[in-house]
Amino acid sequence: EDQVTQSPEALRLQEGESSSLNCSYTVSGLRGLFWYRQDPGKGPEFLFTLYSAGEEKEKERLKATLTKKESFLHITAPKPEDSATYLCAVQARNSSNTGKLIFGQGTTLQVKP
């Protein structure tokens, strides 16, 4: 069964304290892995797409990496405005036509000043 597991569920950091969020996946052929940021009461905001193992994408203080079994979202020197829930989702090759995504439960990040 296709599955996505994110850890930890919650993470508290001090401003400037770098860390990583994990997304482990089991899927029958990966078409793409997606990272989203979601602020309370709002819809998820697209961050990155990764397609193959070894790929990396960066945006400001965020860097996403991908292996054959997991993805990491590295946050370097976070600021309070990085506080949000980060969602990971995968799309299997056999659902390419429909675009159906499988979402993880998310990691809620709190960055304290």
């Binding site: 793409g32 009461g41 819809g43 998820p44 697209f46 429909t98 439960q105």
Partner: protein, 111 residues
């Protein structure tokens, strides 16, 4: 920029009412999706559509139906609202790179 809009941010309805949630995207995307999001359960797919008048059930379609008469508009219908349908409803559309873009969400409360 991709823009996905939803008809209401907050909605309060009574049990048994018929509820319409509308979603519009402006990027000519073929695929559109309806999710609900609940604490501890994450995002769950209700229905999706891959073309005008084409629809497919997601993981939790019971109690819902959808309509897609035009490419840019995808509507979610609660035939007879119940309290267990109180939730955050999110619409998304997908581009050719398989990335889904979400609307701002509708917080529905059924009393």
């Amino acid at each position: 920029d991709v823009k996905v809009t939803q008809s209401s941010r907050y909605l309060v309805k009574r049990t048994g009412e018929k509820v319409f949630l509308e979603c519009v995207q402006d990027m000519d995307h073929e695929n559109m999706f309806w999710y609900r999001q609940d604490p501890g359960l994450g995002l769950r797919l209700i229905y999706f559509s891959y073309d005008v008048k084409m629809k497919e059930k997601g993981d939790i379609p019971e109690g819902y139906s959808v309509s897609r008469e035009k490419k840019e508009r995808f509507s979610l219908i609660l035939e007879s609202a119940s309290t267990n349908q109180t939730s955050m409803y999110l619409c998304a559309s997908r581009d050719v790179s398989y990335e889904q873009y979400f609307g701002p969400g509708t917080r529905l409360t059924v009393t």
